[in-house]
Symmetry: C2
Subunit: 307 residues, 2 copies
């Protein structure tokens, strides 16, 4: 069975949406990715860092999902990374209220010995040099997926380009793809980004779905139209976790299987936004995921011949 | 064979995009709808009005596509409706530079006798009372599709609601759906709009595709990701023309066939934006449409079982 190694933040979030607000709750890219991928019952581990203020129960929650937590360093006299943000009515825009890097400022990722031979690697959104440092510890990965964001494009583009050159898949949102490539058309943006290194480019468009580009092929997975989006926090990370979790489980990198991985990414993200934080992901069942897969088929499949 | 009656403007446009600008060229919702639907070789007619300044060659162009033009009134001493607009870099936003209603200001639509028994009716974007007046002349339509826009919601909502109550399908864009319904979620917006009368609600999201809602079923057709969008003018009308043209041709109102109609709408719209004005639609071949249908299948179809 293939192993999945996840590098990403395990953190506190405080979130305000038009539907309510939370105090400090469990958050972080690594958390969302790990919970999402755990639905495929893969052998996974998270590499991260938290402070002495991080509750044991959250570590236990991850462990209960069969995620190895040995690589989550606990800095006893440090404080856990904290982000707070507020979403506006349409939920597509958010303002960051506060970011406290805390222990993440000096994060030196150490990959547990048992996961140095991981076949699948997910580099969650972090400083590119931290991503590089973790990647260098993996012996011979079969597929490396990178998630990043505009913050790193603005602050350390050269470092970011170094890690982009070393990965197989990059997942970014549409505005970030335009910024990184300098191209307005997402088709042209994907081509420019592929030339930077990744064979596959996944462009996430939030409520408008996600595009997968590979050579001259394109696949599109819609977001499921939902009655209510309660909290979009972590949707992109949940997407990435579903994507790489499915690939780790099936261990098949054909383009047809990559399409399936994108659909499972959208599938899991559609649940994540239904409740605050990770609440929906904590209680999600295999039966629900299977039912939603049917909804995705109904939503997108047509049976038509030329007229 | 079923007949298709199209009510809509036949007009002049002057367009500026980041790729260039045009003088007065052929435009108008009725024109785009007619050209698009003509790809299905249906028996169609356009009801509209133009001025004495409207070139015969444009009327001849429509007639050459087997569109009956008897219902296009020519007001000899009047001037044709004229719109000019400018698109910005991302092509999603446009500014109207000038609108001259001209002969459209007193448009009194007269449906040709031979089309009073049309089974399929497309009410293109016009004043709601003009749409109503045309609709009242049709004896017993099988399917009536309404296109409208925010302008009428702002200026004569009560009249608009009267026509909405009488149609089977409404096609509007996402922002208009939110405005008309007062709901942020498109799922909820569609539900509110269905309660106003239409059994089917089609929400157009431009480059983000289109959603079809019917009772508790939803279908999504993506827009084809394109290298370059040259000129988005008329894309929504071309979508509507492909939608109703396919339904007129197949004369089948099952939900599965409505899905196909939405795909053909997206298919044809993806061509329309490739050149200025109606240029691409004038030269389009059945072979090209068939090839693009394959591209839509590749883009959206996946073959996945529960894991």
């Amino acid at each position: 069975m293939s192993k999945l190694l996840i590098i990403g933040s395990v953190a506190f979030d405080a979130i305000e949406t038009p539907y309510g607000k939370t105090d400090k709750i469990l958050g972080g890219a690594g958390t969302y990715i790990g919970l999402s991928a755990s639905n495929f019952n893969v052998d996974s581990a998270i590499v991260s860092v938290v402070g002495g203020d991080f509750p044991d129960k959250y570590i236990e929650l991850l462990a209960s999902k069969n995620i190895n937590t040995e690589g989550i360093e606990i800095v006893k006299d440090g404080k856990t990374f904290f982000w707070s943000g507020k979403y506006h009515t349409n939920l597509n825009k958010r303002d960051t209220i506060e970011t406290q890097l805390n222990v993440l400022a000096d994060f030196n990722p150490v990959v547990p010995t048992a996961y140095k031979d991981a076949e699948y690697v997910m580099l969650g959104n972090l400083h590119p040099l931290v991503q590089l440092s973790a990647l260098e510890q993996i012996e011979n990965p079969k597929l490396v997926v990178l998630d990043t964001m505009n913050f790193w494009m603005d602050s350390c583009l050269d470092d970011l380009k170094k890690v982009i050159a070393k990965v197989d898949v990059i997942t970014i949102n549409d505005e970030e793809a335009r910024q990184l490539s300098g191209e307005e058309s997402l088709v042209q943006a994907a081509r420019v980004i592929e030339a930077m290194g990744p064979k596959y480019v996944v462009i996430k468009k939030g409520e408008h779905g996600a595009l997968l580009f590979y050579e001259d092929q394109t696949f599109f997975a819609p977001a499921l139209p939902l009655e209510e989006v309660f909290d979009p926090t972590g949707a992109g990370d949940t997407f990435a976790g579903g994507f790489i979790g499915y690939l780790t489980k099936t261990d098949n990198l054909s383009f047809d299987n990559m399409k399936n991985a994108v659909i499972y990414g959208s599938n899991l993200a559609s649940f994540s936004v239904e409740k605050f934080g990770t609440n929906r992901m904590q209680e999600l069942t295999k039966k629900e995921i299977g039912e939603r897969l049917e909804a995705f088929k109904q939503l997108t499949h047509f049976n038509i011949k030329s007229y």
